[in-house]
């Protein structure tokens, strides 16, 4: 038996009909790039639109996702977490079991196949924690394309193992010292590289952000998460979940889980932003809860910014959520009320990290731990006999040094 597919049509609240032809999710999204990049962005839009409906492209992608990435990822009933909270059943979508240990590779695989289809011969990417950089370096090694990864100098210092992993995979990591030397500056530098190397270079963006078509394209490549979840939960429970929950930085893992459920309006959608030291401290990474709409990195979306419209640095224990913006589709889902965005502090994430390790034998990424920390609220929302699906977007091996430091332990 197959799960019911979500109804796609022209009804006024068809959430899956976005973005529009101009790359807009309501007022958000768009293509705010320098003129030099506009023809490239328009080309990419056309190339992606053609690939999206090409069965050969989709079959090739599915093949690599199955045999190289290891999909489908399991949907796992977290029995002890469920007992711990004593309410709705909790399922974990095990994206951390993918090759390279996170959801990032779903998108990288799609984009590199598209890059080769477009005849591009050089790949660039930005990375914060290094997870997207590692996933990009991985697919570049697999297909034999040269790869340059831009990474904030501050992040290079605090994520040395990932820098080495990228080097092992043959990628060149270029530390970025401009601005605040973190993820947003790495993205600026990648855009500067792209504007300088317009003929041969494909920019693999890791977040569901950037100029159109990136937010839609990254979402589509990550929607395999939600599509599998629908199918798997149908097989296990014969029904759809009551709540789906995921952490949100740029928001690619979240939109991948959420999107196939947007038109099932009884399914509650919960994103969790990183509130760092707390929302009152201004040291956070919660663009929706602590920012306002603006324009950065090619799209209009919620941004953490000062009263003058200067972009501020984000702060989170999790480098993957440490970004002052959020994908434009999340901004829109927030405004129209289809999804709700909660927050989680560094401290709460650390506690959830340990709880998941102790109860389930799974060490989650600090990013995913932000979603885990809001399980009590999600279990409440789902009700006693309800079902919550949480996207366990990455594994936490990369974070053990950070966690040890915060717990005052030396390893």
């Amino acid at each position: 038996m197959n799960a019911p597919t979500s109804s796609i049509g022209a009804r006024p609240n068809d959430y899956t009909a976005y973005p529009d032809a101009n790359g807009r999710f309501g007022d958000y999204g768009g293509r705010y790039v320098a003129e030099t990049l506009m023809p490239l962005v328009l080309d990419l839009g056309e190339a992606y639109a053609a690939a999206k409906v090409d069965p050969e492209f989709q079959a090739e992608l599915s093949g690599y996702l199955k045999h190289y990435v290891g999909r489908p990822s399991p949907l796992y009933f977290a029995e002890r977490l469920t007992q711990h909270y004593g309410g709705a059943k909790i399922y974990l979508k095990r994206e951390e079991l993918n090759h390279t240990g996170a959801h990032k590779i779903n998108n990288c695989m799609g984009q590199i196949l598209l890059a080769m289809r477009m005849g591009k011969t050089r790949i660039i990417a930005e990375t914060g924690a290094g997870q997207h950089g590692v996933a990009t370096a991985t697919v570049c090694a697999r297909f034999g394309l040269p790869c340059v990864v831009y990474m904030g100098a501050v992040d290079v210092e605090r994520q040395k193992p990932n820098v080495f992993r990228m080097n092992l995979l043959g990628a060149e990591v270029r530390p970025v010292t401009s601005g605040s030397a973190t993820l947003k500056d790495a993205m600026n530098e990648a855009l500067r590289d792209w504007v300088t190397n317009v003929h041969d270079t494909f920019y693999i963006i890791g977040s569901a952000a950037g100029p159109h078509p990136y937010p839609a394209m990254v979402r589509d490549f990550q929607a395999v998460i939600g599509n599998e979840t629908r199918q798997q939960l149908w097989e296990l429970e014969g029904r759809l979940p009551d709540v789906v929950v995921a952490c949100v930085g740029g928001g690619s893992n979240a939109i991948g889980l959420f999107h196939p459920f947007l038109n099932d309006e009884h399914v509650k959608i919960v994103g969790v932003e990183a509130s760092g030291d707390g929302m009152s401290t201004h040291r956070h990474a919660a663009a929706i809860n602590g920012g306002r709409p603006g324009v950065l990195h090619g799209n209009k979306t919620y941004l953490i910014q000062d009263p003058e419209g200067q972009i501020e640095e984000a702060h989170s224990i999790s480098a993957g959520l440490d970004y002052p913006g959020i994908g434009p589709e999340h901004s829109w889902l927030h405004d129209v009320g289809r999804a709700q965005y909660l927050t989680c502090t560094d401290k709460e994430a650390l506690a959830a990290f340990q709880l998941c390790a102790e109860l389930e034998g799974i060490i989650p990424a600090l990013e995913s731990s932000h979603a885990l920390a809001r399980l009590p609220e999600c279990v409440d929302m789902a009700g006693k006999d309800g079902i919550v699906v949480l996207n366990l977007s990455g594994r936490g091996d990369k974070d053990v040094a950070t966690v040890a430091e915060h717990l005052g332990r030396t390893i």
């Binding site: 101009n22 003129e35 030099t36 506009m38 601005g179 300088t196 324009v295 009263p307």
Partner: protein, 275 residues
């Protein structure tokens, strides 16, 4: 009507049979007062048109010199409001030199397009160049600027082909800025021979004068581009003088204006040497 200040200046340049020199400096760099002094000295140093950058935290199309200039200005607390105050102060002593603000969209989103356009016009701004606002996204801003009589100067680039060019020059006025290299400001060097046919192409499509910038650092290069363009823009080389003066503990204003003078001279003499 402020737009005509740009038109009058280009008409005068045409009558003189020479290209114009457009000097770019950053508002608030190295500080608000010094930047104003530089601005006030530029016309006498030979600047026919002034582009005044307003700083943004994430200038994605700029090379290191202008990135650093923005950082210096922001570190001194420079704001868009203070930039307009600088323009107003400049206008008190100069009613003729066109002044174009150049920067990124987000500070304007924060201000509100309509209110900003009115305030900018009141301060004496003639035009606006917004790097991350391509024609596809420009209508709301263009509407506001039109109502205030401010020109939205469009950018054409080496990747703007003939099919796209009409889109780029739609709703433009004043002049068109031709970006001479695919790249960020102040890194690659512009090649005058490669620029010439593109300037002609843009001139024809827009019916407007064409200023050429990005990658013009030396008087020699400025002179070469001045032979084919209606105006030559130099930015990174000027803001680098601010940085150099700071490091060497020299008079910033004198150093920047001296550099501007040598560039202006090269631009003024270019066609005389050529013919």
């Amino acid at each position: 009507m402020t737009v005509s200040r740009i038109d009058r200046r280009f008409a005068a340049l045409k009558a003189e049979g020479r290209a114009g020199f457009v000097a770019y400096v950053m508002a608030g760099d190295p500080d608000k007062a010094t930047a104003l002094k530089i601005l006030q000295g530029l016309p006498a140093a030979g600047a026919d048109i002034i582009e005044l950058g307003f700083p943004f935290s994430d200038p994605m199309a700029e090379g290191p010199p202008i990135q650093r200039a923005a950082q210096r200005a922001l570190a001194k607390g420079m704001t868009l409001k203070a930039t307009l105050e600088t323009v107003a102060a400049f206008r008190k002593g100069d009613a003729d030199t066109p002044l174009i603000l150049m920067g990124y969209l987000n500070p304007l989103v924060t201000w509100g397009f309509e209110a900003f356009a009115q305030d900018a016009a009141a301060a004496g701004v003639d035009g606006l160049i917004i790097v991350d606002c391509p024609p596809e996204e420009a209508d709301p801003l263009a509407d506001a600027l039109d109502a205030a009589g401010i020109a939205l100067i469009r950018l054409a680039t080496p990747t703007t082909d003939d099919k796209r060019l009409p889109v780029v020059v739609r709703r433009t006025s004043g002049f068109v800025y031709y970006v001479s290299v695919a790249g960020v400001t102040g890194v690659k060097e512009a090649d005058a021979a490669a620029v010439a046919p593109n300037v002609e192409r843009v001139r024809k499509a827009s019916g407007l004068p064409v200023a050429v910038g990005f990658g013009i650092k030396t008087p020699e290069r400025a002179a070469a581009v001045a032979e084919v363009a209606d105006a030559v823009v130099v930015g990174s080389a000027l803001v680098d003088e601010v940085a150099a003066a700071g490091e060497l503990n020299e008079d910033v204003t004198a150093r920047v204006l001296s550099k501007a003078e040598s560039l202006a001279k090269a631009v003024r003499l270019a066609r005389r040497v050529a013919v």
